[in-house]
């Protein structure tokens, strides 16, 4: 064990210098050619394949696996990218165990699905390494479309619009494009600058201009965008973070932070040994963000990391794979605990008081008994919200932008997709599907004009 592990409070350099690279290397090393062939041979090439139907972007999975097995990885990549231009990232971050791989008939046969995600990565990696391009732009239409948000839905929309010959300007509030792919996903899922490489690959089709540091409600307004462009696609994500509604939350104590900010800071860090982390960390939440924050806290050298979720395991949004991953890294997951009070001394977090909960008549309620966990750092990961200014004037459903089946918002000429819309499940792959389909809808709309 490294001596740095025992540093009190929030401190950097808890690990031996070489350990950081090992901890944050690729979670699933890429399949080599032999491994890909062995795995591809397991695919049965099903009729009307269940895996394909379970994919939000409906990639023809049996076809791309057959293409891999016949040593045609570029053909496989084309099959993937035709449906999902961010197939490289989705291969890394999709909860495949809940989607395609859960539907694989080999689950029924022997409980071991074909490793579809890994095979998808094999094919897309080869195509991106060779910079193989599969799309050519239709003749220029002279139309211009604003895409707000350079995350998965925005990039997918921009690419499909560019394919149809439109010119696209992608605006993003952050200093780098990529959205959650760049700022919101655990480092070990997408190391080595993959998110930026993918942005470059997607935009290399041409006709896509990216303007960074441009936020809706700040530099941009919807009215202004509609004046300058023929249509607008909003893929703005969720910029706000839900509050704990616990005592002491607003005291400004050092050590209480949003998990999404921690994840973003970690992703942008070029020296993880300088990134401080608590000796004891508590993460409040039950989704992928909670897992990503907790696991990375542990990988940075935190001695004790505990996820506290206010409901039972069966209610957690994090997939069972993610929960197992966290457990394997030494994270403790505790259920039926809700935050009651953030404890601090001298302006620094010292712990968190939690109340046991139960379901009464289907409603969650506190049981009165409490538990106190010592902590130097508490991360909030209880969900994100749409920032009001990003959706000004649009109809909302349950706090998110309301859209129809094609992604049209309540305002003519404005489409939306990804996490900011009410429909969907907050997955990267769903955001891609929504961006792509909204682009098709915009294309039909513009053709009719």
């Amino acid at each position: 064990m490294s001596g740095g592990m025992l540093k009190q409070g929030i401190a950097s350099g808890r690990l031996e210098p070489g350990q950081y690279a090992r901890n944050f290397s690729d979670l699933h090393p890429a399949l080599d050619r032999h491994e890909a062939f062995v795995e591809a041979d397991r695919c049965y090439f099903c009729f009307d394949a269940p895996c394909m139907n379970a994919c939000p972007t409906e990639i023809d999975i049996p076809m791309f696996i057959r293409e891999i097995s016949t040593d045609n990885p570029l053909g496989a990549a084309e099959t993937i990218f035709e449906q999902n231009i961010l197939g490289g990232m989705c291969a890394r971050v999709c909860p495949t165990e809940q989607l395609c791989e859960d539907a694989c008939v080999r689950m029924e046969a022997e409980g071991k699905p074909v490793k579809i995600g890994q095979l998808q990565r094999y094919a897309t990696d080869i195509a991106m390494e060779e910079n193989a391009q599969f799309f050519t732009r239709a003749p220029a239409t002279g139309k211009t479309i604003a895409v707000v948000g350079a995350g998965p839905s925005g990039l997918a929309a921009a690419h499909r619009l560019a394919v149809h010959g439109h010119d696209v300007v992608v605006y993003d509030a952050r200093p780098k494009a990529g959205g959650l792919n760049e700022y919101g996903i655990a480092s070990y899922k997408t190391p080595d600058g993959f998110a930026q490489a993918e942005v470059d690959y997607v935009t290399s089709i041409g006709g896509i201009e990216i303007e960074l540091g441009q936020a809706l409600g700040r530099e941009l307004s919807l009215d202004g965008l509609l004046e300058r462009h023929d249509a607008v696609f909003l893929g703005v994500g969720l910029g706000g973070v839900n509050a704990l509604r616990a005592e002491g939350e607003t005291d400004g104590s050092h050590g209480l932070a949003d998990a999404v900010d921690f994840i973003a800071e970690l992703r942008q860090s070029d020296d993880l040994s300088k990134l401080p982390i608590g000796r004891r960390v508590v993460v409040i939440g039950g989704g992928m963000t909670a897992i990503d924050a907790a696991v990375q806290s542990k990988l940075l050298g935190a001695e004790e990391v505990t996820i506290c979720y206010r409901r039972g395991q069966e209610h957690m949004n994090a997939s069972s794979f993610e929960q197992d991953l966290a457990a394997s890294k030494g994270v403790t997951i505790r259920h039926w605990l809700q935050p009651k009070r953030v404890l601090s001394e001298n302006g620094k977090v010292t712990g968190i008081e939690l109340e046991y909960t139960e379901l009464k008549d289907g409603r969650l309620s506190g049981m009165g008994h409490t538990l106190t966990l010592p902590a130097d750092q508490v991360f909030k990961a209880i969900g994100q919200t749409l920032e009001d200014e990003t959706a000004a004037g649009l109809a909302l459903t349950a706090g998110r932008i309301e859209t129809d089946a094609e992604g049209r918002t309540s305002r003519p000429g404005v489409w939306a997709g990804g996490d900011c819309v009410a429909a969907g499940d907050d997955l990267t792959v769903t955001a891609v599907a929504q961006g792509r389909d909204a682009a098709e809808s915009i294309n039909r709309y513009l053709a009719g004009n």
């Binding site: 062939f37 009307d48 029924e108």
Partner: protein, 439 residues
């Protein structure tokens, strides 16, 4: 425990598994290892006549095709007969036979088409105390260009003549190895019998090109940019071999002629199938070359357990039992009607049965039920062809169920007849022997 001792034309071995004349039996080192592993016998790799031995190519001599997970399904070679000195081979054969008196040691031979050549080689082989000889009339490459091997095996008159010479010049049993590279294998078999052979062994390898190298447009295996046909064998060759064994076993002219079965034998089950069709024992090469000699343990154990389960005390109890059931198409019972049935508990819903039937056959398998993915056979469309059974990845998930006499075939709307009726008497047959009563 079943008794699997084998007596093939008087040659005794502890089990019916022999290694065929091929690289695994080219020298004492390999054969000793094979016997230690448990093989019942070997046919020593083919000896040529005295003099400078043949030479082999120095590049690839094997080619293959593969199934899923790169399992070898078919194999080919362009290797010639032994390229070792004749005297060295003879000394080793003699020593090995002395070391392993209970195992069968048969020597494969190939010399030019001259009586004196055969007479002299037989004399020196006899001195080794080997149990018998096998005449290599099958090698399809290289040697055939020099007028030997398959070049002889394709001319029944030559076969008869050489077998006659051999029977005249040796006391040893003579096994005649046949080539499959003929249109009707019964003719060389009949010729061998006429010449007095004690047995035939088949098949030797099949003329083949395993693939084409698309980078330099050369057949595989490739030697300096060129290739030549090789001899094909392995699991993919088994159906061809089974057919040829059955054809000889049921030919009235060769009926009862002992057969050593060869061609893709990989497991105990393959061996049992060859023997059921009339082979007295089997010879193995490819499986040993792919997996090593140890596989014989599985073959022995599997054969014994199957025999015990079925109550076959000795090999003779089941040898040839399937021969009588090989018939001509015209004699197949047209009143035997089956329908495919999918076991829904075993079905994994891959849908391959559906798409195979829908795209390429009889549109007899549904793809959904009550709006859900569901695969079921429609008896009113199913012709009982068995395609779905063959494409299903789950064993025994789809089975063919016979309609009992008296049941209605929903496809033809006819009641299944209890009688046997074949094409020879079918009303649609213009050559029918008698007209069936009108229905």
């Amino acid at each position: 425990m079943a008794d699997i001792r084998n007596n093939f034309v008087g040659i005794r071995s502890p089990n019916p598994f022999w290694l065929a004349s091929a690289p695994p039996t080219d020298k004492a080192y390999n054969v000793e290892r094979a016997f230690k592993a448990g093989w019942g016998g070997v046919v020593w790799k083919t000896l040529g006549e005295e003099g400078p031995p043949v030479v082999n190519v120095n590049g690839p001599r094997y080619g293959a095709i593969w199934g899923a997970d790169r399992r070898l399904l078919g194999f080919n070679n362009i290797e010639l007969i032994t390229d070792r000195d004749l005297q060295k081979n003879l000394q080793e054969i003699k020593q090995v036979k002395k070391n392993w008196p209970d195992r069968a040691v048969v020597v494969s031979l190939m010399v030019p088409l001259a009586e004196e050549s055969w007479k002299s080689i037989l004399a020196v082989v006899e001195e080794t105390e080997a149990d018998g000889v096998e005449l290599n009339f099958g090698c399809p490459h290289g040697m055939s260009e020099r007028g030997m091997g398959a070049a002889v095996g394709q001319v029944p008159e030559y076969i008869e003549m050489i077998v006659r010479w051999c029977k005249a010049h040796t006391r040893m049993p003579v096994i005649t190895k046949l080539t499959p590279n003929v249109t009707d294998v019964r003719r060389p078999a009949r010729a061998a019998k006429s010449g007095g052979t004690d047995a035939v062994s088949l098949i030797n390898t099949i003329n083949s090109i395993t693939g084409v190298d698309l980078d330099n447009f050369a057949p595989m295996p490739t030697i300096d940019g060129k290739g030549t046909h090789g001899g094909y064998c392995g699991p993919a060759a088994k159906p061809i071999a089974l057919h040829m064994v059955a054809d000889i076993a049921r030919d009235p002219e060769t009926y009862g002629l002992p057969i050593s079965g060869i061609g893709g034998v990989t497991t105990w089950r393959d061996a049992a199938e060859f023997m059921a069709l009339g082979a007295g024992n089997v010879q193995v090469c490819t499986a040993a070359m792919v997996y090593g000699f140890k596989i014989v343990e599985e073959m022995i154990s599997g054969l014994q357990n199957w025999m015990d389960e079925k109550g076959h005390a000795t090999l003779e109890d089941f040898t040839g039992r399937a021969t009588r059931n090989v018939t001509d198409w015209q004699f197949l019972n047209l009143n035997y009607i089956t329908k495919a049935h999918i076991d829904q508990d075993k079905c994994i819903s891959c849908g391959r049965c559906h798409i195979a039937c829908e795209d390429t056959s009889h549109q007899a398998i549904t793809k959904e039920k009550d709006g859900k993915r569901h695969f079921e056979v429609m008896d009113d469309e199913c012709v009982g062809c068995n395609l779905c059974v063959n494409v299903c990845p789950v064993e025994d998930c789809i089975t063919m169920i016979q309609l009992e006499p008296g049941m209605l075939d929903e496809r033809t709307k006819k009641v299944v007849e209890p009688t046997y009726a074949n094409w020879t008497t079918h009303p649609n047959n213009p050559m029918r022997k008698s007209v069936e009563p009108a229905e």
